[in-house]
């Protein structure tokens, strides 16, 4: 192994991103945004001012007012309520993608890093291949040709976007393998799978979560891009990317209403990334070998 191979750059990028040095209000804001989105996703039924699907055909494309804070869309639905109601789909899809990523990347990454040898080599070739695939582009083709909408998109992204995490986790496992506790476990006769998926996993889990957070943010952006192209959620389902596409026509009369869903995507994705970086900095103390 060359020096570069073992010192995983992504890890250091995360560590060096500097967010642990950010004034705490930045991190606090991120937590607030994420908390708010989760709150909206759980309680949207009770907190939104209007039924997000209630149409008012005689009051379409209205400008913001005290009744409709962000105006109404082309079918007279309240945009503000739809943004709140869009929170569940902003979380569900990306969460599934990130979760699949965690499972796949952990199993492959730890296996690869711990076993080494030809297993490592095989997995690394596979990961190289997956890594070169443009996931979103493939999702566009598959969802466009075969149909299946949102869930097909989630499936495709889940299966294609874990390669990066495998590398990180492999790098971390390599470092762990050299630590005394692994050696100790081995001498005590702890089975290999238990060492890999219990001991090592537990020690590198902050890294796993940090990369899952990043995957989450990327999946959010990718899924909203698909929705924007009309390849994601069903029409009528409040989803931020689709709302941005649908409301585009209101750009002149109601710019706030058009940009709000876009802003929601940007803020949520940014906040999740920041928190991912923070998790890494805060909890990743186990990987500091040799420095």
């Amino acid at each position: 192994m060359s020096a570069i191979a073992t010192a995983s750059p992504r890890r250091s990028i995360l560590r060096r991103s500097g967010f642990h040095r950010m004034p705490s209000f930045f991190l606090v804001t991120s937590w607030l945004i994420v908390g708010l989105v989760i709150f909206m996703a759980l309680f949207w039924r009770w907190i939104m001012p209007h039924d997000p699907n209630e149409q008012d055909l005689l009051n379409t494309s209205a400008s913001p007012s005290s009744e409709h804070w962000l105006g109404t869309d082309q079918l007279g639905r309240d945009i503000f309520s739809r943004i709140i109601a869009g929170a569940p789909s902003a979380i569900t899809g990306p969460f599934i993608v990130a979760l699949t990523g965690v499972v796949l990347a952990s199993s492959l990454g730890i296996l690869s890093g711990y076993m080494g040898g030809s297993v490592d080599m095989l997995i690394q070739r596979f990961v190289d291949f997956m890594f070169a695939l443009p996931g979103l582009l493939i999702a566009i083709v598959i969802v466009g040709v075969a149909g299946g909408g949102y869930w097909m998109a989630v499936l495709v992204l889940s299966l294609l976007n874990f390669a990066g995490s495998v590398r990180i986790i492999r790098g971390a496992s390599l470092e762990q393998r050299a630590l005394p506790y692994v050696e100790a476990a081995r001498t005590l006769g702890v089975p290999r799978h238990r060492i890999m998926y219990f001991h090592i996993w537990r020690n590198i889990s902050p890294i796993v979560f940090a990369s899952a957070a990043l995957d989450f943010a990327l999946a959010l952006v990718a899924l909203s891009s698909l929705s924007y192209l009309g390849l994601g959620t069903s029409p009528g389902v409040p989803e931020w990317g689709r709302m941005l596409a649908e409301n585009q026509a209101l750009l002149f009369t109601n710019p706030a209403g058009v940009m709000a869903p876009g802003l929601a995507i940007v803020l949520f994705a940014t906040a999740v990334t920041v928190i991912g970086d923070w998790i890494y900095d805060r909890f990743s103390f186990s990987g500091r070998t040799g420095r």
Partner: protein
């Protein structure tokens, strides 16, 4: 919190030294923006003398209409190629400007004779012959062409030329034929030109020639089509030496380009968004009667939809006038049945039409009536169904959402399933897996009162390969439609159409919602004359454009 040793090592002057980097970055940014600003002034499009810039929404697939059959394509085809007959405002065939025919007549119910004008020249200087005209129709009939317009010629037995005449013989009488030479497949091509260009005919390396006021000078797919004057054209001269049709698929980009004067106008005003366009300053938006309709078909042989009460309940649950307001700023016409009365009113006295309409079942919006109807059905508590919505048709998506919302209030859950447009159309063509409710939108190809009815109500069309997506079968209706098509008197067709409307309105195989308006948008100060109508795209529409 982690601290690194680096912070201590860094000398202070180090940062100052590095400031040049920042300066470099700033300079780069500024130069990018400035170059953009400088160039923007030098290339102001649009108002350049003698050029008309008219935006398209869809990339022209081909310059040969056999492979690109669309109203938008016809807007520039019609400026390059004459039609055999020229359509009037409401599609009536004429021999005026835009037609290559001197005179025509039906010598029997199945035989039509067209006498070709003399001295018409193609843009390469060659003279138009009757053989060219016959060829222009036969090329669509030839299976080797694989023309999208083959269906127009399904009833044709032969098309021949003799001297300066073209003789068309039909298999059986059909009064809709008279409109075909004035419709999209009536474009006149040069046979010699077609043979010379071979497989490339219609591609950028094989742009067809024509006898119209302009000729193609450039075709860059997905970018633009450019026309220049046809030097051999003897008719009226239009003010523009050059017409550029840029392709701007994105609605916002098109709107911004029009507002900023980078384009002069467009017919690509999404008809679900006319209201928004009207509100925007610096441009003029107008509407015209399109003759096209939007609505739903309900498969009368599929599950709960077999029950007529279910179909009626759905019809009651739709607030058509409000839809017309939301989607079209009330510029459309709410429909109680097909065809739109536009195609009947000109043929029959108003009193007769009104009397007939009294016997048409109407379903004014009423949730109470809808619930009452559903209570009478076998599904008083409602049911769940799926509606396939074609992507790429925003109006269909909106309409489907309105239907789903109304239905949900009477207990019927309609899940919307987005599909690529072609995939959805394949479902209709295959009549499987199941049709259920389909959202439809159709534009007219001819003003014949039976046009939509034949397509949608004929029993023979309730099978794979045809478009009777309600699977509606009724022997009386079949007879009325057949009679209306066969009679050479269009009044018979109009009367029969009203009768079909009465019979089917009780059965509700289709829920027509409204006749959507067509719309144009031009620079402020420009205007379209009121004579623009449903078949404008097959006319030399420049004649109606008032520019300043």
């Amino acid at each position: 919190m982690e601290s690194t040793s680096w912070g201590h090592r860094r000398p202070v002057h180090y940062r100052r030294r590095a400031a040049w980097l920042l300066a470099g970055v700033a300079a780069l940014l500024v130069s990018i923006v400035c170059s953009g600003a400088a160039l923007a002034k030098s290339s102001k499009a649009g108002a350049v003398g003698g050029t008309l810039t008219w935006a398209l929404q869809t990339n022209p697939a081909s310059l040969f209409d056999a492979y690109y059959f669309s109203a938008e394509g016809s807007t520039f085809f019609s400026l390059v190629q004459d039609h055999i007959l020229a359509p009037g405002t409401f599609g009536q065939p004429t021999t005026g400007e835009g037609s290559v025919v001197q005179s025509w007549k039906a010598t029997s119910a199945t035989r039509y004779v067209y006498t070709i004008k003399k001295g018409i020249k193609f843009s390469d200087g060659s003279t138009l012959t009757a053989a060219d005209v016959a060829f222009s129709m036969n090329v669509h009939r030839d299976p080797k062409t694989g023309s999208k317009m083959g269906d127009f010629f399904g009833n044709v037995a032969s098309i021949r030329n003799r001297g300066n005449q073209v003789i068309v013989v039909l298999k059986k009488p059909n009064s809709n034929w008279q409109f075909t030479p004035a419709a999209s497949p009536g474009l006149v091509y040069s046979q010699k030109d077609y043979k010379a260009k071979g497989a490339n005919f219609g591609t950028p390396s094989g742009m067809p020639i024509g006898t119209g006021p302009y000729k193609f000078s450039e075709f860059t797919p997905n970018s633009r089509v450019v026309l220049v004057r046809n030097p051999y054209y003897k008719g009226k001269k239009y003010p523009w030496d050059r017409i550029v049709f840029p392709v701007i698929p994105d609605e916002q980009a098109r709107l911004l380009a029009l507002q900023s004067g980078q384009i002069d106008g467009t017919f690509a005003v999404p008809n679900n968004n006319i209201g928004t366009w009207i509100k925007i300053p610096n441009l003029k938006v107008g509407t015209y009667v399109s003759g096209g309709w939007r609505g739903f078909s309900i498969d009368v042989e599929d599950g709960p939809f077999k029950d007529v009460h279910v179909r009626r309940a759905l019809a009651y649950s739709l607030n058509k006038p409000d839809i017309n307001e939301a989607l079209a700023s009330s510029r459309g016409v709410v429909l109680d049945g097909l065809p739109p009365l536009l195609f009947i009113k000109g043929l029959l006295p108003a009193a007769e039409v009104n009397a007939a309409l009294k016997k048409v079942n109407k379903y004014p919006y009423s949730l109470d009536d809808a619930k009452a109807e559903l209570a009478k059905s076998a599904y008083p508590k409602g049911f769940t169904t799926t509606l396939n919505t074609p992507n790429g048709c925003p109006a269909c998506l909106l309409l489907s959402q309105v239907l789903a919302q109304g239905a949900s209030k009477i207990g019927i859950t309609i899940n919307l399933n987005p599909m690529p447009g072609p995939q959805r159309f394949q479902v209709i063509l295959d009549h499987k897996p199941n049709l259920g409710i389909q959202v439809l939108g159709q534009a007219p190809d001819s003003p014949h009162p039976m046009q939509y009815l034949d397509l949608l109500y004929t029993s023979a069309h309730a099978q794979p390969g045809y478009e009777n997506s309600a699977n509606y079968k009724n022997a009386t209706v079949d007879k009325l439609i057949a009679q209306g098509l066969q009679s050479s008197n269009l009044k018979v067709a109009a009367r029969n159409a009203l009768k079909v409307m009465q019979i089917t309105s009780a059965q509700v195989p289709y829920i027509p919602v409204f006749m959507f308006p067509g719309a144009w948008a031009v620079k402020s100060g420009w205007e379209f004359k009121s004579s623009i109508g449903p078949f404008y795209y097959n006319q030399i529409w420049l004649k109606d454009l008032v520019a300043k």
